[in-house]
């Protein structure tokens, strides 16, 4: 064995072991989704199904309107991602590159928002959504109706812009050399042009990271969509998956089949964006 091969081999063994630990739950989920109820209950558990029950997928899809849930989740996740990218890049750029009075205070406020526990915001957000003027039968003071409740507005607008994204973009814009900005300005480019055409194309890792994190957070959002909607046609995939967990028992095979289907978009997205994603987190020093 060559002397330099040993450390490389050790590294690969370690990384391979880590990868295996990460991948096993996914394989277990997929295998469980193909088992019969009796097979799932077998003790000791079998790795492979005795009988490959592909019909679990159809049964899971029949259990609830998953087509609608899937479409809704996709629409909301894409909506959140696009809005977050558009607004957070501008906010992050302003906080990093545009000097204005109170910039530090605004940045501190953004950081403070990251520290507010999600659950403490739910009732105030619910009340704000319910009291939205001119929507859902409300008058100009937000009275008389239900505002945004049970609508796409309430699913998309709250949470569409995240302080984390603003923070991340600010950190990236800060790391870009000032000379680029000045050169563009000397060439006569306007401030928005500098932001959109010079600086933002250089923060692709941040864009990929924010896109992936936003999409993932939105895709997995459960409590808010559950609380603010009452109709099946507005429900999302995570709410659908929760239906498999009954009070006294869980439909494991259907839950795993549904979870497998729900995981696919995230995996596909990660495969496309993984290079930028890793780079984004490495540069921002976040994990």
């Amino acid at each position: 064995m060559k002397p330099r091969l040993a450390p490389r081999l050790a590294l690969h063994l370690m990384l391979g072991g880590g990868a295996l630990v990460m991948v096993v739950p996914f394989f277990w989920m997929i295998l469980t989704s193909l088992k019969s109820r009796a097979d799932i209950a077998a003790y000791p558990p079998n790795l492979l199904p005795d009988e490959w029950v592909w019909s679990n997928y159809q049964a899971a899809l029949d259990y609830a309107p998953f087509g609608t849930y899937f479409r809704n989740s996709l629409f909301i996740a894409i909506g959140h991602t696009v809005i977050n990218l558009m607004l957070a890049t501008m906010a992050g750029y302003a906080l990093a590159r545009v000097p204005f009075r109170g910039r530090t205070v605004v940045f501190m406020a953004v950081l403070a928002m990251m520290m507010i526990p999600t659950y403490t915001k739910i009732v105030p957000q619910y009340l704000i959504a319910k009291g939205m003027p001119f929507f859902g039968g409300n008058d100009y003071l937000g009275r008389g109706g239900y505002g945004w409740l049970d609508s796409w507005w309430v699913l998309i607008v709250p949470g569409a812009l995240t302080p984390f994204a603003i923070f991340l973009f600010r950190q990236f814009y800060l790391s870009l050399p000032r000379e680029l900005e000045e050169a563009a300005r000397i060439d006569g480019m306007g401030e928005f042009g500098i932001f959109a055409r010079v600086m933002t194309p250089l923060v692709k890792p941040a864009i990929a990271t924010v896109a992936l994190v936003t999409f993932e957070g939105s895709w997995n959002n459960f409590l808010w969509p559950l609380l603010v909607t009452t109709r099946d046609d507005l429900r999302v995939i995570q709410v659908g998956l929760a239906a498999f967990q009954l009070a006294e028992r869980t439909e494991w095979s259907y839950l795993m089949a549904g979870s497998t289907l729900a995981t696919v978009p995230m995996i596909v997205l990660f495969l496309f964006a993984q290079r930028y994603f890793v780079q984004g987190f490495a540069t921002a020093g976040i994990k």
Binding site: A64, V123, W252
Partner: protein
């Protein structure tokens, strides 16, 4: 009823919701939108944690079609949820000023919501109800002598045992007191050569720990609260019940902590890895799915938990009306409909639960479901949890206290004393 999943993460939300509820939940009933001609009308919003999945939805929609034929001017909008998230749905909607007209909720939930003025009194009295229901079934729907909820179905917990395993060990009848329970459990426990547990003599871990402890406590003569609403679950009888659980795990080693857990994919009793258990009536369905021959060959038996008195845990689902419903008469009509024989039988059949109405004891469904039959025959010994407005805050702390005793971190007396002190603080806070 609510599973413990995500419970700890949701505690801050529960605190905020409770505070919000306190500030907005009070107030008199809203003006009725019902007609003066005796006909009820309006759109009624129903929140249900039962009727889950496509099957449940089909059952409810069929029932609602019947309701519609009787009340053509009432439209019902249904919001389906699960018990795991019912508390959040209820409290957010009430705190947000958009309560559901009809709310289905669990046993133990009436005092918390009624005390905050969120529920409307139903036009029923206890004496009349006890003609249709067992008195013990009626009680969870009553708060301060007023009826706020009518039961649709019951979730019961009692002893379940394997007749074949008992027979192999020469035991002819299930235990009739705690001493026999421990002795039989020791005898029926099997470990392999390495000491690994292969069969638990008694499984006290497959059921929710609080809901295992409580029937043992009641069987030992204990109570959850005193008549004036103070914690009583650290009485000598309650400590004795937790001591029994601790002895089973730590002294007799009839089951190992971590051997199984509620919601595990396989039920030890069905696999022959437990000889008896404290279980839910729905566990019969799990056994039918996992080992159907056990049910077909009549190898599953049931017994009341017994020591000072026989006891069975009684949970369930009750139908209530919001105090702020815009259509209270229509909402009450829907409650009456959902709790009548036809609709409640359909709901129980769909879920494999125990009907609440006495009249359903002779139904084909109950006759075909031995667990439901056993539960209905023993309703005189049924006990319900709850009873104080702070119950939804208190109940979540039981698990940690019981676990601390089972793990030997605290004595049963210490664990329950600390729990009682915590509960007293929650009650005092209001």
């Amino acid at each position: 009823m609510m599973t413990e999943t995500r419970r700890s993460r949701l505690r801050p939300l529960a605190a905020v919701l409770t505070a919000a509820l306190l500030t907005t939940g009070c107030g008199g009933p809203a003006p009725s939108g019902d007609g003066d001609d005796g006909k009820v009308s309006g759109t009624v919003r129903l929140l249900t944690p039962i009727f889950e999945g496509a099957d449940g939805k089909t059952v409810l929609e069929k029932q609602l079609a019947d309701f519609k034929s009787k009340h053509p001017d009432v439209a019902v909008e249904v919001d389906y949820t699960t018990y795991a998230k019912l508390n959040e749905k209820l409290t957010t909607s009430i705190a947000g000023g958009r309560p559901y007209d009809v709310m289905l909720m669990g046993v133990g939930w009436i005092p918390p919501f009624a005390a905050k003025g969120a529920l409307a009194e139903l036009d029923e009295n206890k004496q009349d109800l006890t003609k249709r229901y067992n008195e013990r079934v009626v009680q969870p729907g009553i708060y301060q002598d007023k009826v706020y909820g009518l039961p649709i179905m019951l979730d019961t917990r009692f002893g379940i045992y394997r007749k074949d395993i008992f027979a192999q060990a020469g035991i002819t009848a299930p235990p009739s007191n705690f001493t026999e329970l421990r002795e039989m459990a020791r005898k029926l426990t099997v470990r392999d050569g390495s000491g690994k547990l292969t069969r638990a003599g008694v499984d006290i871990l497959s059921n929710d720990l609080r809901q295992t402890f409580l029937p043992l406590m009641w069987a030992n003569g204990g109570e959850l609260f005193t008549p004036d609403g103070k914690p009583a679950f650290n009485s000598p009888q309650a400590v004795g019940a937790l001591q029994l659980m601790t002895d089973i795990i730590r002294t007799d080693k009839s089951e190992d902590f971590g051997f199984t857990q509620p919601g595990a994919t396989s039920l030890p009793l069905a696999q022959g890895r437990a000889a008896m258990m404290v279980g839910h009536n729905n566990h019969l369905l799990a056994i039918e799915e996992q080992a159907p021959e056990l049910v077909k060959e009549d190898k599953i038996g049931f017994f009341m938990i017994n020591n000072e008195r026989p006891a069975m845990f009684q949970g369930g689902t009750l139908a209530t009306v919001s105090a702020k419903s815009q259509h209270p008469a229509a909402a009450k009509a829907l409650v009456r409909f959902l709790t009548d024989e036809q609709a409640s039988l359909a709901a129980n059949e769909q879920r494999g639960n125990v009907p609440a109405l006495n009249g359903l004891a002779d139904s084909d469904y109950v006759k075909s479901n031995k667990a439901a039959q056993f539960a209905m025959e023993n309703l005189d010994a049924a006990f319900s949890e709850g009873g104080v407005p702070a119950w939804l805050e208190i109940r979540g702390d039981f698990k940690a206290a019981i676990e601390a005793a089972l793990l030997g971190q605290k004595t049963p007396q210490q664990a329950l004393d600390e729990l009682a002190a915590k509960a007293q603080a929650a009650i005092a806070k209001g």
